[in-house]
């Protein structure tokens, strides 16, 4: 028992929670932009997966520069977001079917690209690709315990933690954010005051694509330093669940992501696995089970709240 407590509060366990939560946060903010503008993005998983392979390949093409890989994958993400808008608004494709097709496309094409670049279908270990660096914060890193806890995380972890309040601010206090939310809730009202709803939605979906792509680049250049087939492993969908749980509020989305991040961290921690004592496959299902349970509890509460309002 003491053993497991010391694992729970150990620095390496906290680090793995940060590592696991980071891609979920990128995915959730991606989903938030899409949901708020009124067009669900189910293709986040696929955008993340393709971005993960694209960043590794371009990074190795530019002599292992992480920056090059990152920039190209972000451009790809923006295009993917724009294309989703085009498919849904111009071609009138159902957004969920468009998202499904993104995921089908990514599952095959990521392996196709991997094979083109490396000649094998397993992983990209033979490519020399860059990594997004870990950052030691000056001064903070010298504080005992707290320093070890807060310093030394990946640049992208800090970046998303800084972006969260910014995103929250965008949606509560900027014209762009309010336009996005109106495009989702009352597009006619927005149109009636002379705002181009399509343009607002395109901008939101491009932002959605960029965040998803950043999450994907983190997977193959930060979380680990290579691409492995199906490495996103449902994180794009878990992120969508986190956004649903957060109900449009960045703070709640953050908490939901941390919950799922902890579930992930528990599932991969050997001490926790020993403690729980179930077969490894069972433990591997924990993040997905937690997601379903959380989704059911949340949806049920939201439902009864609506019922209550109706009855009054």
């Amino acid at each position: 028992m003491m053993n497991i407590l010391s694992t729970l509060f150990s620095i390496s366990f906290v680090f793995s929670i940060f590592r696991m939560t980071t891609p979920l946060l990128y995915g959730s903010i991606s989903s938030l932009f899409a949901e708020e503008c009124g067009i669900s993005n189910i293709g986040i998983e696929g955008i993340m997966l393709l971005s993960a392979i694209i960043s590794v390949i371009t990074s190795s093409m530019f002599g292992g520069s992480a920056l090059a890989g990152l920039l190209v994958s972000l451009v790809f993400g923006a295009l993917a977001g724009f294309l989703l808008g085009y498919l849904v608004m111009k071609l009138k494709c159902d957004p969920i079917i468009a998202g499904i097709s993104y995921n089908l496309f990514a599952a095959g094409v990521s392996i196709f690209l991997l094979f083109l670049a490396t000649g094998e279908k397993g992983n990209s270990a033979s490519l020399i690709s860059g990594t997004i660096p870990n950052i030691n914060i000056p001064l903070v890193k010298d504080i005992p315990f707290v320093g070890a806890l807060l310093s030394g995380h990946n640049l992208f972890t800090y970046l998303i933690l800084l972006l969260l309040p910014a995103v929250s601010y965008i949606f509560s206090d900027t014209v762009w954010g309010l336009h996005i939310r109106s495009a989702g809730e009352a597009p006619e009202a927005l149109e009636s005051v002379g705002i181009n709803v399509r343009r607002v939605r395109y901008s939101a979906l491009i932002a959605s694509g960029i965040f998803a792509a950043a999450g994907g680049a983190y997977m193959s250049m930060g979380y680990v330093s290579l691409f492995v087939g199906d490495m996103v492993a449902g994180r794009g969908f878990i992120a969508i669940a986190a956004t649903a749980l957060g109900n449009g509020k960045v703070k709640n989305i953050f908490l939901a992501c941390v919950l799922f991040g902890i579930a992930d961290a528990v599932a991969i921690n050997p001490d926790m696995q020993n403690f729980i004592g179930l077969p490894s496959e069972m433990i591997g299902t924990i993040p997905y089970v937690v997601t379903i349970v959380a989704l059911v509890i949340y949806s049920n509460r939201a439902k009864s709240r609506r019922m209550l309002l109706k009855n009054h």
Binding site: L91, L104, F112, L116, F237, I238, Y288, V289, L295, S299
Partner: protein
């Protein structure tokens, strides 16, 4: 009359156009990436016709595709996005394998029991996201996708713990008993094809010729109207999903017992996903599913032959698939063409009257 036939033609033309466009894109990609361009393209497009064995492969591939295509068509008819068909197909296959290798029964009875249990397991799988949606309004897209991941892991565990053949160097199940295996028809394809053809006919009759089918279709097209008309919309949606799950699970079981002799480690078919593509291409009509399954199976076999003998990999088919489903599902695609045809027809009618 004419206008209706334009609408019908329009649907067919859209699917064909989407198909041609996606094949065109694939050819362009092959031209860019391959060093064996001509060979790759010809293998991809015509190799399945070149031998009897390849044609048998196409028919073999068609069978599971028709199962999952039918299951997806049923689910799409009630407009829910329960994406657990892949998990249902997988679990149906795993459970049928377990019964085929761990239990002994009479020939005939054994296969029947294994198939039935495979179907029931599939129904239970698809039921879960369905009931969570109905009772708690939990988003079925997310819950069904999470469920797939859970089922794959549980299936791996089942194989490793209960079914593993210790005499094999690989992690693989015991050999299926012969009494559980489905015979081959004409030495070409699995006799499971007959099962799915019967299912397709029953489903078509149910959907288009019975009251229950009318309720299903109306529920999908206009749930409010269905509700006002006194139909139990929730129940209709849920039962349709359960039937779809049974079809998909039965498909997994039939596939396993028809074309395999053991359950392999980390077996993932992807047929559940292909089913979505097939149903969308078929406009959710069971009568069209054999045709759309044939198209996809042909492309699949062609790409596999290509990837065996040239430097282009079979994953390229996912490009074809995603382009097809997006374009077929897009109402705006080729819409101007349709409107123009209808207007021309109307003008023609007017002139004829004068």
């Amino acid at each position: 009359m004419k206008i209706n036939s334009i609408k019908l033609n329009y649907d067919v033309i859209r699917v064909l156009f989407a198909l041609l466009l996606s094949i065109f894109v694939t050819i362009v990609i092959i031209l860019i990436v391959s060093d064996q361009r001509i060979e790759a393209i010809s293998k991809f497009l015509v190799a399945p016709l070149s031998s009897k064995r390849y044609l048998g492969d196409v028919l073999d591939k068609m069978m599971p595709l028709m199962f999952t295509g039918l299951a997806a068509a049923l689910i799409f008819n009630v407009k829910v996005f329960n994406l657990s068909l892949e998990g249902a197909f997988y679990c149906g296959g795993v459970m049928a394998s377990a019964i085929a290798c761990m239990v002994t029964m009479l020939t005939g009875v054994h296969a029947f029991v294994a198939l039935l249990i495979g179907g029931i397991v599939g129904a239970v799988v698809v039921f879960i996201p369905g009931i969570l949606k109905l009772k708690f309004e939990a988003n079925e897209v997310v819950s069904s996708l999470m469920l797939n991941y859970i089922l794959f892991k549980l299936g791996d565990w089942t194989l490793r713990t209960f079914l593993r053949d210790p005499s094999s160097t690989h992690v693989t199940s015991y050999k299926f008993h012969n009494s559980a295996r489905l015979p081959e028809s004409f030495g070409l394809f699995s006799s499971g094809v007959y099962i799915v053809i019967v299912l397709l006919i029953i489903s078509w009759i149910m959907l288009y010729k019975t009251k229950h089918g009318y309720e299903i279709r109306l529920t999908g097209q206009n749930p409010n109207l269905a509700n006002i008309s006194g139909m139990k919309v929730g129940k209709i949606i849920l039962t349709t999903q359960i039937i779809a799950g049974f079809v998909s699970g039965l498909g997994g079981a039939t596939y396993m017992l028809g074309t395999h002799s053991r359950l392999g480690w980390q077996w993932r078919s992807g047929y559940g996903w292909d089913g979505l593509v097939i149903a969308i291409m078929a406009k959710n009509n069971p009568a069209m599913i054999p045709i759309t399954s044939l198209i996809l199976a042909y492309l699949r076999v062609g790409s596999e032959i290509m990837s065996r003998s040239t430097d282009v990999q079979n994953e390229i088919v996912s490009i074809v698939q995603s382009i097809i489903i997006v374009l077929v599902a897009s109402q705006g695609f080729l819409e101007t063409w349709r409107k123009r045809r209808i207007v021309e027809e109307k003008i023609g009618e007017k002139k004829g009257e004068e």
